[in-house]
């Protein structure tokens, strides 16, 4: 997994509420045997393109200063709905490394950590303030994110603290793979199953116990 340490980049405000993962990557563009690598062009397609397939000039990521943004400032419940991890892959493929919002879909939130994308939860007022600062500069401004220090630096220099669970933070900082981490608990898993098999045999012998 790619490490995440610090980032300083343009940030695109996308403050609409409840942007679901079907909108982040439509189903028709993700069905197949190996789709990873081909998802970026369809990321946020219903917002990014007009019905005739051309770019929607009004959409934030189609406007010059925001086009290369690596940070999205998101409305509440961003990434709600479907569990599709392709939503994170699609964002990653257009260069997004960090999403800053007041809440995220629970499954999407976990999926971000699995892919080196940092989801930052801050109060809605902070998101709106960051967006207002960016927009006041017509997008020609950068936001800094320091994971280890737990600090967002606004274009004005104002700082906002945030927290990330310790184990998730460590994994992102070092680029650790979760399966590798869990295998350190291999003996505990075996012991759990041995104990549990006696207590709940019906779990392990479906239809036979």
């Amino acid at each position: 997994m790619e490490k995440f340490t610090t980032l300083r980049t343009a940030a695109a405000p996308l403050l609409q509420e409840n942007i679901d993962t079907d909108t982040i990557i439509p189903m028709a563009k993700m069905v197949g045997v190996s789709v990873r690598g081909s998802l970026g062009q369809w990321c946020l397609a219903p917002l990014r393109y007009l019905p005739d397939g051309s770019e929607n000039p009004a959409f934030v990521l189609n406007r010059a200063p925001y086009r290369g943004a690596q940070i999205l400032l998101t409305g509440p419940n961003f990434g709600c709905g479907s569990s599709r991890e392709t939503a994170v892959w699609a964002l990653e493929e257009i260069g997004i490394r960090c999403v800053i919002g007041s809440s995220f879909g629970d499954i999407f939130f976990n999926n971000c950590f699995q892919n080196g994308v940092l989801p930052v939860v801050v109060d809605r007022e902070v998101v709106n303030e960051l967006a207002a600062e960016v927009e006041a500069r017509q997008g020609a401004a950068t936001i800094g994110v320091d994971l280890e220090g737990g600090v967002i630096t606004a274009p004005s220099g104002k700082t906002h603290p945030f927290t990330v669970q310790e184990n998730r933070k460590e994994a992102l900082l070092l680029g650790l793979d979760e399966i590798g981490q869990t295998l350190r608990h291999d003996a505990a898993i075996s012991a759990f199953q041995a104990r549990d098999r006696l207590a709940r045999p019906w779990i392990y012998e479906a239809g036979e116990a």
Partner: protein
């Protein structure tokens, strides 16, 4: 000092902790892992590429549902669907994972067959690479959707790293009004609490309405937990649950069943348990619901006026409602009742079980689908299909002009090529009215099976209670 009572959630969670990882995070044992055609074979390939095999293949079950055509003979399965089914067959065979293949009695939508086959049991921790895994909480399991990296993690380790959610109890109290379905209750809850109302919570559904409800209705309620933002929703198992589980294909039998029931009786929240949040709904206040927008929270009684964006103060919220009405082709102040519809879809892990089909058939019986409407009934599983045919429900539907199809996810998620055509308006018993969910530019109204059947017959959104519901 007396110790504080425990919630059902705490009992389910704590009994599955393999290791405490600190900072509110735990390594949880996974009792049941379901794979489907969309991502199942890839997960097995991912761990194979790392030189690993599934740690507990006997706790893993596979079923194709997302990309299979639901036409007779599975005609028209897309090339992607054909490849994904082939890959699922090959990878499960090699890994020693049990597959319920197309055309066999166990096939169907994964969240319908899990409880139906007795694979998902009370007290289980259940995962699947699908957000509607929460459906299976209806039998008293802690069930939730996961992403594809988590899926590979479960295959490799039979565990998952999870952050402990907060707890919420939603109590529905009182008798169900005539013609009101479990779907209406949960849509009403989402409408009044918002699509993010449950984000970060595990939800226990309780109260006298839930106690009096059958297991299938509870599965419907739990199904839409994710539409409230909660990835887990469940109902404490009771005698209704135990009677439902008894005798199912993979449920424990005889003395083992009795022993399991004794353990399952412990699975309820203690009387003095405290929740981070409590919500009480007076069931008598709930009328048949229909969504008007592009989020499940944009819902109201079918005969209520559609909200006017001009009345909304917050600019962001106003823009969201304007965009939704524009997409849906609706006008503020109109009611949904009387809105002409083109398609009706009865199916999905929300509403495709036998009780749902009976509700829809009660409206369809002896009537005809309006000439301009195309209406599908897609049973949730091979088991539901056969049971419905035994009762003659298939004939009720076909004589009324509905198409009776093979089990699968079909138009709910449109990943098998079955879509509502662009610009068309559908009433669906599924769970998501998102932009493009049922196909590019498709307009979806979510409703109960009876309300969907009524819309098919009337050719417009109509009151099912006046048609036998």
């Amino acid at each position: 000092m007396r110790s504080q009572g425990r919630t059902l959630f705490a009992k389910l969670w704590d009994s599955h902790v393999v290791a405490d990882l600190g900072d509110g995070t735990a390594l949880l044992h996974i009792d049941r892992h379901f794979l489907h055609d969309l991502g199942g074979s890839q997960g097995l390939k991912d761990i194979k590429a790392r030189g690993m095999k599934p740690r507990s293949p006997e706790l893993t079950f596979a079923v194709p549902d997302h990309t299979m055509s639901t036409a007779r003979g599975r005609a028209g399965t897309t090339p992607a669907g054909v490849s994904l089914l082939q890959a699922l067959r090959e990878e499960t065979e090699e890994a020693g994972v049990r597959l319920f293949d197309v055309g066999t009695p166990g096939q169907g939508i994964v969240h319908v067959v899990g409880p139906e086959l007795g694979i998902t049991l009370p007290g289980c921790v259940v995962v699947c690479g699908d957000s509607h895994t929460c459906t299976q909480g209806g039998v008293g399991a802690l069930a939730f959707g996961i992403g594809s990296t988590e899926l590979a993690h479960v295959l490799a380790t039979q565990t998952l790293v999870q952050r402990r959610p907060k707890t919420m109890r939603v109590r529905f109290e009182g008798a169900m009004p005539v013609g009101v379905a479990p779907k209406d209750l949960i849509l009403h809850l989402i409408g009044t609490n918002g699509a993010a109302g449950g984000t970060g919570y595990a939800i226990e559904y309780a109260g006298s309405t839930i106690r009096a409800m059958g297991v299938e209705g509870r599965l419907t309620i739990c199904n839409l937990s994710i539409e409230l933002g909660a990835k887990m929703g469940f109902v404490a198992p009771d005698d209704t649950t135990f009677a439902y589980v008894q005798g199912r294909m993979l449920a424990p039998k005889g003395a083992a069943f009795e022993r399991a029931v004794a353990a399952w009786r412990e699975l309820s929240s203690d009387a003095d348990a405290e929740f981070d949040r409590e919500v009480v709904i007076n069931t008598a206040d709930v009328a048949p619901q229909v969504t008007w927008g592009t989020s499940p929270e944009q819902v109201a009684a079918f005969d209520a006026p559609i909200p006017d964006p001009a009345d909304i103060e917050d600019a962001g919220k106003r823009a969201t409602v304007e965009a939704a009405l524009d997409y849906m082709g609706l006008r503020a102040g109109d009611t949904m009742a009387g809105t002409r519809v083109d398609w009706v879809f009865i199916g999905s892990c929300t509403n495709s079980r036998i009780s749902d089909l009976r509700d829809a058939a009660a409206v369809a019986r002896g009537r005809k689908v309006a000439g301009h409407v195309r209406a599908w009934v897609v049973p949730g599983s091979e088991g539901v299909k056969r049971a419905a045919e035994e009762e003659g429900l298939d004939r009720v539907f076909t004589e009324a002009g509905f198409e009776w199809r093979e089990p699968g996810c079909s138009m709910c998620v449109a990943s098998n090529g079955e879509i509502v055509p662009p610009g068309m308006r559908a009433v669906s018993t599924s769970n998501r009215n998102f932009v493009g969910r049922q196909g590019p530019r498709a307009r979806t109204h979510l409703a109960s099976p009876a309300m969907a059947a009524a819309a098919a017959i009337a050719g417009m959104i109509a009151d099912a209670r006046k048609m036998g519901a």
